[in-house]
């Protein structure tokens, strides 16, 4: 049974996983999980993968952990992966401060995205810490700190711009001629 099913169903599964990975997670993690599951224990893991294809595509690590219970406890195994969004969180957190200088609103977008992604990945790491590399967790934390600082700076600069615009607007509304004189003096 299983030998007959395997060659027929494997390509389908690969296609499904490719579709899922392109939407939800970066390709590297899912392909890595695929490579690691296949060679060590061929038949049982492949059957599990066929049983739950969407689960495998959406969340590769838990399925992997189900495949290798002894590796879950042992930290020395070579199968630890990087957290799926660690580098993205780091890069977005750093970008947020560069964008904060311009509009004050543009930098909010990457900072908030980085915070949400880091929250997800923290939950993943807390679920089973043995599966992921420590360095990627450190990267994630650094990106989180960067995103928080960027968020605070962005909000501050936004409030500052709002205060400036309100001051100028009220000045112009109350006394237009004097305000124009002041503006001329500034230039």
């Amino acid at each position: 049974m299983s030998e007959e099913q395997l060659p027929g169903e494997d390509p389908k599964k690969n296609e499904q996983e490719g579709d899922f990975s392109s939407e939800t997670t970066p390709e590297s993690t899912s392909s890595f999980a695929e490579e690691t599951t296949v060679p060590v224990e061929p038949t049982p893991t492949a059957n599990q993968g066929n049983g739950f294809p969407p689960n495998n595509g959406g969340f590769p690590p838990p399925n992997n952990g189900g495949g290798f219970p002894p590796n879950n406890g042992g930290y020395g195994g070579g199968l630890q992966q990087a957290l799926p969004n660690a580098t993205i969180v780091l890069v977005l957190g750093i970008i947020s401060i560069v964008l904060c200088c311009c509009y004050g609103i543009l930098g909010l977008i990457p900072a908030i995205i980085a915070l949400v992604l880091s929250k997800k990945d923290k939950a993943l790491y807390a679920a089973n810490p043995g599966l992921y590399t420590l360095s990627s967790f450190k990267n994630l934390n650094a990106g989180r700190v960067c995103a928080i600082i960027g968020l605070i700076l962005n909000i501050l600069s936004f409030l500052y711009y709002a205060a400036i615009i309100i001051m100028f607007g009220s000045g112009i509304l109350s006394d237009p001629n004097k305000m124009q004189d002041i503006l001329r003096g500034m230039q």
């Binding site: 750093i94 650094a142 960067c146 600082i149 400036i164």
Partner: protein, 117 residues
């Protein structure tokens, strides 16, 4: 890959002056500066980048002191993501906090020395 690098190098060597000239006359204008006439915390970044490309370190620092730390932060992040240093995340955090401190202190200094306009 090597051919591409060589082409970029050749572009900068042959067309370098034209490129810098083009950059100098096509700087993006700051919306806050246009609206209110007051500098924003990021004003001066492009001028200092152009000065840095020209090789003029002192004017670059005078225009915007945080340019070189920001570029260093980007470079170090790329290298860290590639080679995965042991204390890389901590160093990135410290660099980031340093950059923010430089930007904020520079802006407050500009406010109190009337350089905003």
């Amino acid at each position: 890959m090597k051919i591409r690098l060589f082409l970029i190098l050749a572009f900068f060597l042959t067309e370098g002056k034209g490129f810098i000239h083009w950059l100098e006359h096509n700087l993006l204008s700051c919306p806050i500066k246009q609206l209110s006439g007051i500098d924003c915390p990021g004003c001066g970044l492009q001028r200092s980048l152009v000065a840095l490309i020209k090789g003029d370190l002192i004017t670059s620092v005078k225009f915007y002191p945080a340019t070189i730390p920001i570029l260093g932060l980007f470079l170090f992040t790329l290298i860290h993501l590639k080679f995965d240093f042991k204390n890389g995340a901590f160093i990135i955090k410290m660099l980031y906090i340093g950059v923010t401190l430089i930007i904020v202190i520079n802006y407050i200094y500009k406010i109190f020395t009337n350089q905003l306009i």
